[in-house]
Symmetry: C2
Subunit: 210 residues, 2 copies
Amino acid sequence: MEHAQLTEARPYHHGDLRRALIEAGRRLLEVEGGAGISLRAVAREAGVSPAAPYHHFRDKSELLDALAFEGWDQLGNQMREALSNTGSERDHLVTLGVAYVRFARMNPAIYRVMIDCSQSHETMPEKLRDEGAYQLTRDTLVEAGVDPNDETGLELAAVAVWCAAHGVAEMVGFKEFEPLRVQLGGEEAFLRSIFSQLDIFRPGRKVAVA
Amino acid sequence: MEHAQLTEARPYHHGDLRRALIEAGRRLLEVEGGAGISLRAVAREAGVSPAAPYHHFRDKSELLDALAFEGWDQLGNQMREALSNTGSERDHLVTLGVAYVRFARMNPAIYRVMIDCSQSHETMPEKLRDEGAYQLTRDTLVEAGVDPNDETGLELAAVAVWCAAHGVAEMVGFKEFEPLRVQLGGEEAFLRSIFSQLDIFRPGRKVAVA
DNA sequence: GTATGATCTGATCGTTGTCAAGATTGGCTT
DNA sequence: AAGCCAATCTTGACAACGATCAGATCATAC
């Protein structure tokens, strides 16, 4: 939150650069957007030379990984908070989905970094899977009636929820949907409507996972 | 499909460069992946100087736009084909979704370019909306029982389907899901299972669009 | 057959990711 | 307390990139 330490008498060895770089990166992502993030720009923003980051990150991609990690952490917290701020009206899943999409839409550049990192690793972000939103989703699914002993079914449902949330997060901002958005009474109502529509893929009933 | 025309006697004024650049770009996207696509590399692949493309595209982004355009076109065709190759088993929507995801997974770099371009324009790709998969989806939705006179509901449903398909396309490749994929009997079965799960967001019944 | 305008090249600029070599410094050993 | 070591930071460099511009080259309209 506080400004950088550029103007102050630069300490010879910058107390904790790694952290400063991460926060500089986050600032740049929020302000400049995803395009304006170069390793050099991050170093510049943190007040160090262009080569300094290489003592804390092997790659540019490793810096991005760190930014992504923080992003998933923050997202998890926001979803947890959203869940605890809601009454027990039984549509907890929608609450989670709305929180997810809301984060993605309010921090588009950071969210893009998160997704790109995951995809380049071909791996689900640990912060999501282990302690974050994924567990939250599974719990909520069980609470919503999914058999907790049917691990396959539970995993499948969680994947589906995540896929849907991500899809909505990335597609819902297009200008073409603006009329729909206002007609439905704003972004949140729009999101809820979309999520409510997501039964359309179901040709039969509750699928047996065979 | 055929190789480049580097080795031949270079025509002084390259017959139709614009087209050659697009196809060179497509080749690079397929082979090198999304990272290895630079304007200079495309020019190199097409056998022209690094400045040549600027007579046909204002920007690098304009070249990517053209690539994205072709991608959406190709995707539309594949979905149409998938639909016509299927019996009338009434799960046409799932067929469409599977075709969509299949394209995205078999051409990941191109698909990424498509999505990035759309997002940077904050606009739905015209090839999708006007003559492509979107209309196809709407038709299939009507066929599946959505009231064709309820424009709002129809649009909402189509958005939801697209969101879900995109989400699945981008999330379904993670290694964590490999056991699930084999357990369910391969990629297609996995996809169908996920799509079948997508009723979980529905807390009530068929949503009234107010 | 020549002028015009479109197309292509070469050279160049500013920026980026990355690396190697040298400067600086906090902390451990004795 | 002195001195050394390894971690940290800077300087300088390199290749590759996007972009621009002056000039060469060609197809074509007149």
